[in-house]
Structure formats: structure tokens, C-alpha cells
Amino acid sequence: MTALAVRATASRQALLAVAAPVLGLLAWHVATSGPGYHLIPPPADVAVQWWDLAFGGVWDDLYSATLWTHAMASLGRVYGGFALAALVALPMGMLIGRIAVVRDLLDPSLQILRPIPVTAWLPLAMIVFGIGPRSAFFLVFLGAFYPFLLNTVFGVRSVEGRLFEAAAMLGVGRQAVFWKVVLPASLPSIFTGLRLGLGFAWVVIVVGEMTGVQTGLGAIIMEARQLSRTEIVISGMVTIGVLGFLSDRAVQLLGRRLLRWSPQHG
């Protein structure tokens, strides 16, 4: 393809990508602007509210210019919970995948715990960790943990047998085979787990921040709901969407660098 053709394809893609949101905004606008409708604010009101939330200068109320504080609080919990999940799930997944005894010991329990939704853990988390950020942190951790763990186990277990034979005949010992074969071969799956886990961390952040924390995007969404400030609710939602999207993009870029060798990623 010529450079021009590439650029044409890229701009076509960009056009299509924004088409759906623009149409959605339009439909939203038509449905909510007009007299006599108060439950859901029109997009323009939300935009103004978002601006005030981010930079202040419009309403100058309790919420003005607080968006960064809340966003940073949520980001901290998302990445903190996620990092802790990775720290536990990665070695645990490796052990479950590689060692039969560990698998027999842990797998049944994990399979029973897994279907319990994060929301169901909420009351228990508040009892154990108290009202506040520690509960939120725990719930995010829980949300990110299972996708990470399951993909790691899958990756470790599905390493092609042929590669172990190849390594053995080239002189790799039993200890080194883990670093030389298992880890690199399961990297694509681990990476998928990382992406899914981070996605789930964002999904559960609102639930996590229902635990009575003062700051955080989830916290202001729940608080604004009680105050019937629906513009703030939607502003918070949009912000979570954008931040989640950006962090997924960052992870994807990292993946492309690390997994250049993999036809599915490179």
C-alpha cells in the first residue's frame, strides 16, 4: 500500500469510529432537549457540568474543579488493586499451571470462589476492612485477580510439548526450562490476562467506591445520584470510560513492543 492509501484507510477508520458516538449524542440531544423533560439532562448540560467539574468557573460549588482529585483517587485504587492482583495471581497461576499438587490443592476452591460476584463481597469487605479506601482496594483487587490468574494458568498449561523437547535436546536443564520456555511461551496469555484484569479493575471501581470513601469517581457518582445531580453522574461515567480506554491503549502499546514475535500481537 502506498503512504497515501494508508492515510486514506486510517482516516476512514477514524471517521467510522466517531460516527457512532456522534449519532448517539444526537439522539440523546433530540430525546432530552425540549420542554417538560427533567430526568436525564441533555448532552450540552453534561458538557458544561464536566467542564466545571474539571476546571471550575461555572457553578463554583462543592464539586467545581475536583475532577482531578477524584480521578487520581480512582486511578490509584485501580492500579494499586490491579498491581496487587498481578503480584499474587502471576506466581500463583504459574504454580497452579506447572505443579499438579498445587493445582489439586487450590483449583477446586478457586473454581467455587470465582462465580461469586464482586458486589456480593461488598458487605463482607466492609466488615473486614472497614468503611473506606481499604475495602475499595480489596474489591478492585478481587475483580482483577481472576482474569489474571485464569489466563496465566491457561498460558502455562498450553505451552506446546514440542518446545520442551526442543529445549531438552539443546541442553536446557529441568530448572532452567521455566525461564527459558514456560515464561516466554505463556507471555501472550499472561498479557491477555493483564488486559482483562485491568479492564475489570475499572469495571468494579464504582462498586469498590460504594464502600463510603470520600473521593473517587465512583464515590462522586453515587453521591451525585443521591443529590439528583445527574449531570455529575454522567460526567463521572464519561471520565471512567475515557480513563479506562486510555489505560487499555497504554497496555496494548506495551504488548505490541513485548510481543512483537507473536503473530496475534505484533
Binding site: 526442543a166 535436546m169 539443546l170 514475535w261
Partner: protein
């Protein structure tokens, strides 16, 4: 079988590189025991090119995998330089039909894998890799990943990988079976050249009679149910061999008859 034992005149009284004595291989299959290979006896001299041919189920791949050390011997003895083979090792390099390359390593890194795994310094391993990348004609692709290569190129990498690791015996399990005819012919020529230059001993499993006659010093014919060796034919034709020649065809007919009569 008697024929097999009369042959070692060629290797003389010197120790054979591989000495396979009355080897059986049995697999447990549920409650039953299946004999994959029965009473295989074979002596291979240093520098010999052996082709194992036979229909599926004749135990040729099983024999190869036992030499590689991936499978244990059920009874009998399998010796390399007089010592029993107890597991996989760099002295016996395997080239798989499905390549078995490490997809996360480049061509040069795949080739340097063995030397690095065995603790050679980085610079030395890189120099070894360069040499063998060149030997198999892949210099332009040294930094490519396996998924970017054609089947023929992947098999060149696999061959270079075992050579770079100082393999004395190269075991090849239908290595060109998945390649198109032209690529296969090129690789056969190149393999013969590398074999002659590196003074390798090669055991090459194939089900193609023509391929066996083109390549081998000796063609070992096997038959199934249970797998055993039924003939060991020396191919005395000078190389390069012409598949359209009279003697070539006579050999082809002969081997084909041996295979056919035991179906």
C-alpha cells in the same frame, strides 16, 4: 535381520557412534500393552547417513525418539559411543517435522539458544549463531521471527540450531514432509552438502522411497505390526544421484517390493 549384523564391515572394528541392540519398545494402552518396536538391532558408524523408511506404525519415529532420549527403551540396549542413552542431550540434535522453533526468539537467537543454554559467553554464542545463519543461507533473515519465515526457512533454522549446538548425530523426523516439492529438493541438496562438510551422522525418517535413495548411505526398511527392521540396504550410487537413472529405479523397485510384501 542377519543382513543387519553382517553389514558393520564398513565401520570396521571401531566403536560405532550408535549401537542399538535388540531394542523393544512397549507402550501401556489402557489395560493392554502395545509393542511399537520389536527386537531392533542397528549399528551406525560416524559420518553415516541413514534413512529409516516404512509405513506408519512401523516404529520408525519411536526408534528415532528413543535415540533422542525422549522415550525410554523397554528392553535391549541403546548405546552412544558405548554408553547407554539416558535422556535428551545436545550430542543428539533433533529436527522436527513441525520445526519446534521458539517463536519468541529471532532466527539468530534460536540458533544461539543451545550455546547460551549451555553457558557459553554471549559474544561467543552470537558469533556461533552468525556462522550457522550464514551456513544455512539465512543472513538476510537473521533478525526475523519464525512466524515471518516460510516452512523451508524454518527448517533451515532448525537444522542450524542443532549444528550450532555441536550435535554429532542429527535426528530428523520427516523434516521435509510438510514442504513443497521444489523447496524439498533444494533442502535435500543443501543437507547433503552440510552433512559432508560437518562430518555428521544423520538418521533421517521418511516415508518417501525416492527421498531415501537420494540421501542415504544405508536405507533401513521397517514394517508394522509390531514395528521391526526388515532390511538394511546399502546405497552405493555416487552423489549427486539421478532419480531418473536405471540403477536408481532398480533400487526404487527393490525397496518398494520390500515395503509392499510386508503390508
Amino acid at each position: 535381520m542377519g543382513e543387519v549384523l553382517e553389514r558393520p564391515a564398513a565401520t570396521g572394528t571401531v566403536l560405532p557412534i550408535l549401537d542399538i541392540q535388540h531394542v523393544d519398545k512397549r507402550f501401556a494402552f489402557g489395560a493392554e500393552t502395545i509393542t511399537a518396536l520389536s527386537d531392533a538391532t542397528l549399528r551406525i558408524g560416524k559420518g553415516e547417513f541413514i534413512c529409516l523408511i516404512g509405513p506408519s506404525g512401523c516404529g520408525k519415529s519411536t526408534l528415532l525418539r528413543m535415540i533422542a532420549g525422549f522415550e525410554t527403551v523397554s528392553s535391549g540396549a541403546l548405546l552412544m559411543w558405548g554408553k547407554p542413552v539416558s535422556g535428551p542431550g545436545p550430542d543428539r540434535g533433533m529436527v522436527f517435522q513441525d520445526y519446534g522453533l521458539f517463536p519468541w526468539l529471532t532466527v539468530s537467537q534460536n540458533i544461539a539458544f543451545g550455546p547460551v543454554a549451555r553457558g557459553r559467553p554471549k559474544a561467543e554464542a552470537a558469533a556461533i549463531a552468525r556462522r550457522f545463519v550464514e551456513m544455512v543461507g539465512l543472513t538476510r533473515f537473521a533478525e526475523a521471527y519464525p512466524h515471518q519465515l516460510s516452512g523451508g526457512m524454518k527448517q533451515r533454522v532448525a537444522i542450524a540450531r542443532v549444528l550450532a549446538n555441536d550435535a554429532e548425530v542429527v535426528l530428523m523426523d520427516e523434516p521435509f514432509g510438510a514442504l513443497d516439492a521444489m523447496t524439498r529438493e533444494r533442502l535435500q541438496e543443501d543437507l547433503l552438502e552440510i552433512w559432508a562438510r560437518a562430518k555428521l551422522s544423520i538418521i533421517f525418517v521418511t516415508h518417501a522411497i525416492e527421498e531415501a535413495i537420494i540421501l542415504a548411505d544405508r536405507v533401513v526398511v521397517m514394517s508394522p505390526g509390531p514395528g521391526r527392521i526388515i532390511a538394511d540396504e546399502r546405497i552405493a550410487l555416487p552423489r549427486p544421484r539421478d532419480p531418473t537413472g536405471v540403477e536408481f529405479n532398480a533400487l526404487r523397485r527393490h525397496l518398494s517390493g520390500l515395503l509392499g510384501s510386508h503390508h
